[in-house]
Amino acid sequence: MSPVTGSYIIGNAKGVHGRVATKLAEIALEFEADVLLLHNGSQVNCDSILDVLSMALVHGSEVQVILSGQQAQPALVKIGAVLTAENDP
């Protein structure tokens, strides 16, 4: 199965802070999919809340998402929604 990708702009005014990162990691752990986040030349696996936090994704920054696995497509939809949401999950 070929990977699915998406590109998103961070919508939360405080950036990807604790609550957002928690939700992202929860999705990555819940779905049968490998979720990678790419930003500014670095890449992290989305199932690690600390990796995601340390990427320091501030409001307005662009992030690429690459998913592979059985549930890549539905996971992408959820991940994309959290990344672009203006409000805390």
Partner: protein, 603 residues
């Protein structure tokens, strides 16, 4: 002369108490009790080399510690209802961190590759994470390292074999004092005998404050070094509304505060219905009652007490909260949240209102150097400082304008004393807006600009200013001090500080009339607005909006709803005929005791 951190609003008679400490009140309520000081022993992990056959056992020991920590967190989570969503989501993130590969896998890898003990391996993992977080520029995300530290500390403490849980082993309810609380501490303490809590640390992004409020535990934060000056067993009084702590109170003080606590409890029940009622007179004449705040954290309180907007947001906190100057983005985060949360109600943000020397002291690497001022109250401060540091002012205005698309913004310029000052500020504002237009950045169309009337010259020129601005805000604290030439912190003259001084009341009237002649609104945002005796006078003088500490809004709303508009107008006229402050005060007192059935000496 001008007190910057004036969260403390003691009664207007203002007698100082020597054993009183002023912190930041983050969760209201008055409690009296003995304290328990929690001193965390920082566990220093030694490095021990282990023989190879011991390694699997060590890995198992670490795994067990993590599992126990997780169980503790899960158990703690179960104790709380789902309506504490904020607090629960913090625990969820801590559970995820605990099992995160940067902590869990990495520590096991260290144990195996270096043949070392779990404590040392965990400390190394934590160090790696710290190095990564140190490089993060965004203060809010960077601050999350504190959470990781709390999580690791829990595991450390299990590894070291410290007693888990129970931070307090007292039988009687106590006030808990610590350098800092983790959100879990705060939640765990709730299930024990807890009256209130007091911490040295805590600030804008402090979870502790949020959790305390959602649990309804009185709390004061920001009292640096308190754990050094207080011992387990001491009695204190803690007032989470005013942010005050009274150390070792005498019997008389205990009596006074017991009374206050009783009153405020009874009053809270009595006033609760007013929170959701419209703020208008008995016959339907509306007066806006809004809140004075200085931290985003206070927004919850603002809603709880039924405020219809922010009448004064003191914007200094973002500038003093950290060692370096905040960037435009950091300010934008604050302003956006402020406007979004309060929308559709208006939010009045006062631009930086500090003395220049004080500000630059705080930022040692700042480019301009100022000599210490001999008379700071009459020196380079407030709008004067902003016009001197145009870059700084520009940055704040840019952040404000960018935030304006998220709600109803009113920009308030402090200490304006002449027209050219206002013109300069307006010119900078115009520059900022045209720069944003060029950059293609959107900003709100309905932004209002106002000046603060707090020096006599502004009162006299109020008619001139009114033609140039959208609203006037009278800052009575400073207006009284500047016009009566009274420094309230000077004990020999403090008693002469008099809100009922006829000169003060006439100045307020003159300002209101000048504003109304141009069809603009006039608000009051000093302590007078939140004091029943003074507020009724202000209403009588025709003020359109009163802005005060959130907790007193229901009091003033009850007052407002009790009277007819004509009654208030008549009172205003009568008061203006009084020629000395004492006479005015007695007149108003007598009027209230004849016409208002509720007690009003509670301030």
């Amino acid at each position: 002369m001008k007190s910057e951190k004036n969260k403390a609003t003691p009664s207007l008679s203002g007698d100082a108490t020597s054993n009183l400490l002023q912190g930041i009140g983050v969760s209201p309520g008055i409690v009296i009790g003995r304290v328990v000081v929690i001193k965390r022993h920082t566990c220093r992990a030694g490095r021990y080399h282990l023989p190879p056959d011991y390694i699997p056992k060590e890995v198992a020991r670490f795994h067990q510690a993590v599992t126990q920590a997780e169980n503790e967190l899960v158990k703690l989570r179960e104790n709380f209802a789902d309506d504490l969503a904020d607090a629960l989501s913090i625990i969820d993130s801590h559970i995820l961190m605990l099992k995160d590969r940067m902590i869990y896998d990495q520590t096991i890898r260290f144990i195996k590759s270096e043949n070392v003990n779990a404590e040392w391996a965990l400390a190394q993992s934590l160090n790696h994470i710290k190095n990564r977080f140190d490089k993060i520029a965004d203060p809010y995300i960077k601050e999350r390292y504190t959470d990781i530290k709390h999580v690791a500390d829990r595991v450390f403490s299990i590894l070291f074999g410290h007693e888990p849980s129970q931070l307090v082993k007292e039988n009687e309810p106590v006030i808990v004092v610590a350098n800092d609380f983790s959100p879990e501490d705060t939640m765990q303490l709730h299930t024990e005998n807890l009256l209130g809590f007091l911490s040295e640390k805590g600030g804008v992004t402090s979870h502790t404050a949020i959790v305390a409020r959602s649990l309804n535990i009185p709390a004061v934060i920001g009292l640096t070094h308190i754990t050094g000056s207080i011992a387990t067993g001491d009695t204190i009084i803690l007032d989470g509304g005013l942010g005050q702590v009274i150390m070792k109170p005498d019997p008389e003080q205990v009596q006074v505060y017991k009374q206050k606590a009783l009153q405020s409890g009874a009053l809270a029940d009595e006033l609760a219905p007013y929170v959701h009622l419209a703020s208008e007179t008995f016959d339907g004449y509306s007066v806006r009652l809004s809140a004075n705040i200085e931290m985003i954290e206070e927004l919850q309180t603002v809603h709880r007490f039924g405020s219809e907007g922010i009448g004064l947001f003191r914007s200094e906190f973002d500038f003093f909260n950290q060692q370096r100057q905040p960037g435009e983005d950091a300010l934008l985060v604050t302003y956006r949240q402020l406007l979004e949360t309060m929308s559709p109600h208006p939010v009045t943000v006062r631009t930086l209102d500090v003395g220049g020397d004080k500000f630059l002291d705080h930022l040692p690497d700042h480019f301009s150097q100022l000599d210490p001022e001999r008379n700071p109250a009459l020196g380079l401060r407030s709008i004067r400082f902003s016009l001197h540091e145009v870059e700084l002012f520009t940055m704040q205005l840019r952040a404000l304008l960018k935030a304006s698309v998220y709600g109803r913004l009113r920009i308030l310029l402090p200490l304006v004393s002449s027209l050219p000052e206002l013109h300069q500020a307006k010119a900078i504002l115009r520059k900022v807006s045209s720069a944003l237009e060029k950059e293609g950045v959107a900003y709100g169309t309905g932004i209002e600009l106002g000046v603060m009337v707090e020096v006599p010259s502004a009162v006299i020129l109020a008619d001139v200013f009114s033609k140039e601005v959208d609203f006037l805000a009278i800052g009575t604290n400073d207006l009284i001090q500047y016009s009566l030439a009274i420094d309230r912190s000077n004990q020999h003259v403090a008693h002469m500080y008099d809100p009922f001084h006829p000169a003060v009341l006439r100045m307020i009237k003159q300002t209101v009339d000048a504003g109304h002649a141009q069809g603009i609104s006039v608000s009051v945002c000093g302590e007078m607005a939140g004091d029943v005796l003074c507020a009724i006078v202000l209403l009588g003088l025709g003020v359109d909006e009163l802005s005060m500490r959130p907790a007193v809004i229901p009091h003033i709303k009850r007052l407002l709803r009790h009277f007819h508009y004509e009654q208030l107008q008549q009172l205003g006229e009568d008061v203006l005929r009084c020629v000395d402050g004492e006479q005015t005060k007695n007149f108003v007192k007598a009027y209230l005791s004849n016409h208002y059935p509720y007690q009003c000496n509670c301030y």
